[in-house]
């Protein structure tokens, strides 16, 4: 998931994602509308960000397709299957959410995301969905709920657990909305309501800033308003220091606890 406020941020994020995929030897399919191809084509972005991709295009490792070409489920699955059978160790697909929705209905796009998510679950595959910050508040909760197992952001991974959610990486001003959204998803589930409490495992969270603290509050606000308890578990020392500074354990519905028994 890549949430960007500016075009520059988007370009940096996409280029980094393609670069990592090329390093891994992955088959990369990038989805672009005709409008994007004329306005901000991937190849130009890669050149601009100094990611050498000509060879990958020539060999077929990197392919740019239109939404129509991947729109139907079997087509995408076919692409994935062929790539893996052809010797690629893994598959990556990426694109911009908003522009995809200019050529397909919102429902169709949601369906496509569902397909992608299922394929990611079943195959060695990763997806990069790009959202502008403006879209995030309306679209992100749905998208996060769709990413059943969790979200992989360049800087933050969230993993659903039976009793809640685990975080790994860093949360700061560039990905705090991802955390907020992941917490909304984790606390909206039927399991969370039934249990009355949700564990947020912080043992692999290396950094949290003030905006991350705010995301912890906002992402769980409704759950706590309805009586839910949020247990922040095993924060690392630097994160613990910030939670203490923000007096998080004095906020209604929060407890901070050390490693579980």
């Amino acid at each position: 998931m890549l949430i960007h406020r500016t075009e520059q941020e988007r370009r940096a994020g996409v280029a980094a994602w393609v670069a990592r995929g090329l390093e891994q030897g992955a088959k990369i399919v990038y989805v672009e509308t005709a409008e994007q191809s004329s306005d901000r084509p991937l190849m130009e972005v890669l050149q601009d960000q100094s990611v050498p991709a000509e060879d990958a295009v020539a060999s077929g490792q990197l392919e740019v397709l239109t939404p129509e070409e991947v729109a139907c489920e079997s087509r995408l699955e076919e692409l994935v299957g062929r790539a893996l059978a052809g010797g690629y160790p893994c598959f990556r697909v990426g694109g911009e959410v908003a522009t995809a929705q200019t050529v397909m209905s919102r429902d169709d796009h949601v369906e496509l995301e569902r397909v992608v998510e299922r394929l990611c679950h079943d195959w060695p595959m990763g997806a990069l969905c790009q959202y502008t910050e403006a879209e995030v508040r309306t679209v992100l909760p749905t998208a996060t709920a769709l990413h059943r197992d969790g979200i992989r952001h360049p800087q933050l991974q969230t993993m659903r657990r039976p009793d809640g959610i685990a975080l790994a990486g860093e949360v700061d001003l560039c990905d705090h909305l991802v955390l907020c959204s992941a917490l909304i998803a984790a606390t909206s589930s039927a399991a969370a309501s039934a249990a009355g409490s949700v564990v947020v495992d912080l043992s692999r969270l290396e950094f949290l800033d003030v905006s991350g603290g705010r995301a912890l509050l906002r992402g769980t606000a409704e759950y706590r308003r309805n009586g839910g308890q949020v247990r922040l578990r095993s924060p690392q020392p630097a994160v613990d220091r910030l939670l203490d500074l923000l007096a998080m354990d004095r906020e209604p519905g929060f407890t901070v606890e050390e490693a579980s028994a």
């Binding site: 700061d172 001003l173 560039c174 950094f207 800033d209 905006s211 705010r214 500074l245």
Partner: protein
């Protein structure tokens, strides 16, 4: 000069300096303050060195609402002491009235004197919203003149026990901090070890990693170094959101000190006192956090517009 006698008003902020030459004068100054505090129904704290506390306890006696504290326990470092007081007021479930009197430790070196001097001035910003009464005693025999001068500039009122008057040398915190008495340090001399320009939030993690690589001089604790990087991150995030792009980040490593500077050239005049008030009372949470993650944070304005935030472990 006629001394205008003004009584301390219970329920409202006050911050007085008590200048004394000897213990008798110290007691003469503290006793009425403590009695007034107890009579008002507030909590009273008397803090000092162990020897002085023993002496004061004999003279002032005991009371359920009177606590004696030791400076070595309560007054570790200026910023942490300041925000600890703030937290006591903010966390109190009911409105709290606190009367605190004692000797501000001041430390042994010029650097420490200056830091505690700035603390005294910052009290006027940080604790102004609360029913806090401070009476800070300064020994004119033991302390150099510039420390006494700074004390007069950082306390709105001067007292000698029965008499109390407005300090003619008092300067509001924003004015005090730019006065030479405050001895606010500048950036280290010499080229920085790190200098980068940042334009978008996506670059924040990379900047943190870069700073952390250099944040290892001898004589700086790991916690202080981590706190400095985290505080610099908050100042940078704040500048990216509110300042002018690009934002410049510099780091100087050592000896025994780590310094960062975050500069932007935005329009508008920066608030030198940003981050002192509790976020609940308005203002920047990021800078408020930065001032607690790092002991020494100074906001300055730049000729031509913009702000510079200097952060230092010592």
């Amino acid at each position: 000069m006629t001394a205008q006698v003004e009584a301390i008003t219970p329920g409202r902020y006050s911050h007085d300096v008590l200048l004394h030459d000897n213990d008798a004068q110290l007691v003469a100054g503290m006793k009425p303050f403590v009695e007034l505090g107890l009579a008002s129904g507030g909590q009273v704290l008397v803090h000092s060195t162990e020897a002085r506390v023993t002496m004061l306890r004999e003279v002032l006696g005991t009371h359920p609402r009177l606590t004696y504290g030791l400076d070595c326990e309560l007054y570790h470092a200026p910023s942490s002491t300041l925000f600890a007081y703030q937290r006591v007021f903010e966390d109190s479930p009911e409105p709290l009235e606190m009367w605190a009197t004692g000797t501000v430790p001041l430390g042994d070196t010029e650097t420490e004197h200056a830091a505690w001097g700035r603390y005294e001035s910052a009290v006027n910003e940080v604790l102004r919203p609360y029913a806090f009464h401070g009476l800070c005693s300064y020994d004119t025999q033991a302390l150099p003149p510039h420390v006494i001068a700074a004390a007069k500039a950082s306390h709105p009122h001067v007292t000698a026990g029965t008499e109390r008057w407005m300090s003619h040398e008092y300067a509001e915190p924003a004015a005090f901090l730019v006065d030479p008495l405050a001895a606010v340090p500048g950036a280290p001399v010499g080229e920085p070890d790190v200098a980068v320009e940042v334009s978008c939030v996506a670059e924040l993690p990379g900047v943190r990693r870069l700073l952390s690589r250099f944040a290892l001089p001898d004589g700086v604790s790991r916690q202080a170094a981590e706190g400095l990087v985290a505080a610099t991150h908050e100042a940078l995030a704040n500048a990216l959101q509110h300042g002018g792009l690009p934002v410049r980040v510099e780091l100087w490593a050592g000896p025994a000190r780590l310094t960062c500077r975050v500069t932007d050239h935005g329009r508008g005049v920066p608030d030198l006192l940003a981050g002192y008030r509790h976020p609940r009372r308005g203002g920047s949470t990021g800078l408020w956090a930065a001032r607690q993650l790092c002991e020494n944070v100074f906001i300055g304005d730049l000729p031509g517009g913009g702000a510079s935030v200097l952060l230092s472990t010592a």
